[in-house]
Assembly symmetry: C2
Homo-oligomer: 134 residues x 2
C-alpha cells in the first residue's frame, strides 16, 4: 500500500483519516519511521517508530506514543522520565512510509539526557561529540 | 553494532570517522534512515536511506547520494531533475541507526515537485493536502 494514488490531489483537498491510515506503507513488522521535530525551533530531536495503534493513541491523547523495537512494546515518551512529547501536528509523506511529528518536547528527547539524539557530528575524517547532557 | 559505547563521551571529544561508520546499526539490507533538513530554515524535507558507500560518497562529493530501495541502486539526488541536495553537515544519532543531513536543497525535494514530502497533514478525522507542487 501507499499514498501514491492521492499525490495529485490539490492543496486544501481532504481525505478521511481512516483511508490514509489504511494506505500507509508499514514495514514487515507493521512499523513506520517517525521524525520528531520541535515545533517552534525546528530542531530535529529523534527518529523512532510507530504502528497504527500508536498513531491513533497519539492523535487521541495528544501525547506521543511510539513502538519500541528494542523492548517490543508501546513507548509512551516521557512516561517514566517526565520528558514528554506533546503533539502539535502530524503529517505523512508522499510514499506513506514516514511520519513527521511536530512536537513540544519537555526537557531532553535523548535517553542520554541530551536535547536531541544527533550528537555525533562528522567533521572531516573525525566525528565530534556535539552536545552535552542537560 | 551501535554507538552506545561512545554515548558517555564528553562534548568536543572526537572519534575516527571510520570507527563510527564501522559501528553504525544498519538494517538487514545494510541501510540506515537519513533525514534531510534544509539547513537554514529547519524544514524537514524528506526521509530516505543510505548505506556505507553512499555515506562516504556524500562526504567526498558534498552532494547527497542515497540508496533507492525501490530501484535498488544508488540515487544521486537531483541527478536527473536538477533538484540537488548539497551537504552542509552530517550527524549520527545515539543508537547509530539514523542520520541527520543538513542540506541546501535546490528546488523541490519531493518527486511530486513539492518542496517537502510531508504534505498529508492530519486535521481532526481528516487529512488535508497541505502544499502544492512548485
Amino acid at each position: 500500500m501507499s499514498l501514491k494514488a492521492f499525490e495529485t490531489m490539490k492543496k486544501g483537498e481532504t481525505l478521511a483519516l481512516d483511508e490514509v491510515l489504511a494506505n500507509l506503507k508499514a514495514d514487515d513488522a507493521g512499523l513506520i519511521a517517525a521524525i520528531a521535530q520541535q515545533h517552534d525551533t525546528g530542531e530535529v530531536l529523534m527518529l523512532a517508530y510507530m504502528n497504527e495503534k500508536s498513531i491513533r493513541e497519539t492523535l487521541e491523547t495528544g501525547q506521543v506514543c511510539y513502538w519500541s523495537r528494542s523492548r517490543q512494546t508501546y513507548w509512551r515518551k516521557g512516561e517514566s522520565s517526565g520528558h514528554r512529547q506533546s503533539l502539535v501536528s502530524m503529517s505523512f509523506d508522499c510514499d506513506g512510509d514516514c511520519i513527521l511529528l511536530q512536537v513540544d518536547q519537555k526537557g531532553p528527547a535523548c535517553h542520554t539526557n541530551r536535547r536531541d539524539c544527533f550528537f555525533f557530528r562528522v567533521e572531516g575524517d573525525k566525528v565530534v561529540i556535539h552536545s552535552a547532557p542537560q
